[in-house]
């Protein structure tokens, strides 16, 4: 098993992993300082006959230091996080020309609506496929998320992307896959007794193959997208 994050497979996954690692290092240092303090003090200042505690009510200087250091650290982290957040989830963050796919979540399945040959979402040649998300590699994809019944959450670990699908709302989320692969999409919001089975397969295809197949609809589209051994698709990152 892995003791770390799953492999990164979207353009912004690396940035998120960097931020994760940075926070891990910073909090790791803080953790070591505190826990070392606890252990050292617990041993060094344990009660012994004849000892008397040092009578003090504190130190303004120390207080200032240990208020200021965390404050400055969190402000820096906040600024860094916000830049990345705006880039990924901001209102205007969806790249122009992103390939649109509709995602309608319901108890307990994902329905993906593809734009069809015209590449336009919401036209007559759209078609819907159950539990199979097919996307091209190296091209931004925008998913229009909604839910039919209750709240679900669209989560592809390798993309580091999570976004709730809420009934009554049309929420856009985008990603750009970086490698040809077969991944899993899970529901991350408790949506009922079948929540744990609400799984879909994500296929990331070579751009040319995808473009060619996108000219077809429905079952033909699915049949057109067949993995060839050369693509090295594993059928799941964990297996």
């Amino acid at each position: 098993m892995s003791w770390w994050l799953p492999p990164a497979a979207s353009t912004f996954a690396g940035d998120i992993d960097f931020l994760f690692t940075l926070i891990l290092v910073i909090t790791g240092i803080a953790l070591v300082v505190v826990e070392a303090g606890v252990i050292v003090f617990a041993i060094r200042y344990r009660a012994r006959p004849g000892r008397r505690a040092f009578y003090t009510h504190g130190s303004a200087k120390a207080e200032v230091v240990w208020s200021a250091v965390p404050a400055v650290t969190v402000v820096i982290l906040g600024i860094m996080s916000n830049g990345l957040w705006t880039k990924i989830k901001g209102r205007d963050s969806v790249p122009a020309g992103a390939y649109p796919i509709g995602v309608r979540a319901k108890q307990f399945e994902w329905r993906f609506t593809y734009p069809g040959p015209d590449g336009q979402f919401g036209t007559a040649d759209d078609f819907t496929v159950r539990n199979q998300l097919h996307v091209p590699v190296g091209r931004p994809v925008v998913v229009h998320l909604t839910a039919e019944d209750v709240i679900h959450s669209f989560f592809v670990p390798e993309f580091r992307l999570k976004q709730d699908a809420v009934p009554g709302m049309d929420i856009q989320a985008w990603f750009q896959a970086t490698k040809v692969d077969s991944l899993e999409l899970g529901c991350a919001e408790l949506c009922g007794m079948g929540h744990y089975k609400m799984r879909a397969r994500v296929w990331v295809w070579p751009a040319e193959q995808y473009a060619a197949c996108a000219q077809k609809t429905s079952q033909e589209f699915i049949d057109c997208l067949r993995p060839s051994p050369a693509l090295g698709m594993t059928g799941g990152t964990g297996s």
Binding site: K106, Q107, F108, E109, V129, R130, N131, Q132, G192, M193, G194, Y196, K197, M198, R199, A200, R201, Q219, I222
Partner: protein, 243 residues
Amino acid sequence: MRKLGSVAAVGLGVVMLGLGAAARRPATQGGATVTGKVKFTGTKPVMPKIDMSEEPKCKAKYTTAPPTEETVVVNQNGTLANVFVYVKSGLPASAKYPTPAPPVEIDQDGCHYRPHVLGVMVGQTLAIKNSDGILHNIKAKGLKNRPFNISQPTTMTSNRTFTAPEVMVPLECNVHGWMQAWLGVLPHPFYGVSGGDGSFSIKGLPPGTYTIEAWHEKYGTQTATVTVAGTETKTADFTFAAK
């Protein structure tokens, strides 16, 4: 304690049923029979194929032809299957019919309900079986009967009963959106479902004039009036046209 209690309850129930049946036994045995065929006219609709690749266990059960949806099943001989035919009215209001002890079984096999349409009497046990060994949930969306929504994560059987007549109670699985079944709940045993040859039969009817209704999930209902006497057999055919 719980087990003991249920044994006692079942025992008591059997005794009560026996008494009830003995008290005023309607002529269910050796009565009249209504049979017939459900014909289908027009173009046979093409049922969409179902991609079961996310459920390898189910997919493996279809070696010859890929699974399709079962909204309209037209038989080889041009008849319509899965039509629920039952006595809608004409029985004496006061008549009571014993609840059969053996349960009615519905199986989830190959991510399909078997059978797709079935009937059960009020109070009779519906045994819901999961032969697939993967998660199915069974959601019964009755209006007159208390709705239920149960799940079966593995191979198992769950029993349920129904309290009020209702045609039909839809059953569905939300893990596999295509899985649908229809359950007719009746206070009497006079119902049948058209099978692979399109025929049905309703047996043991006491003499009288009855309204017989044929129900199909897509094509709606049709009725026929039949008068029977003694042990005769009458025919009532129905015809549904493609829409």
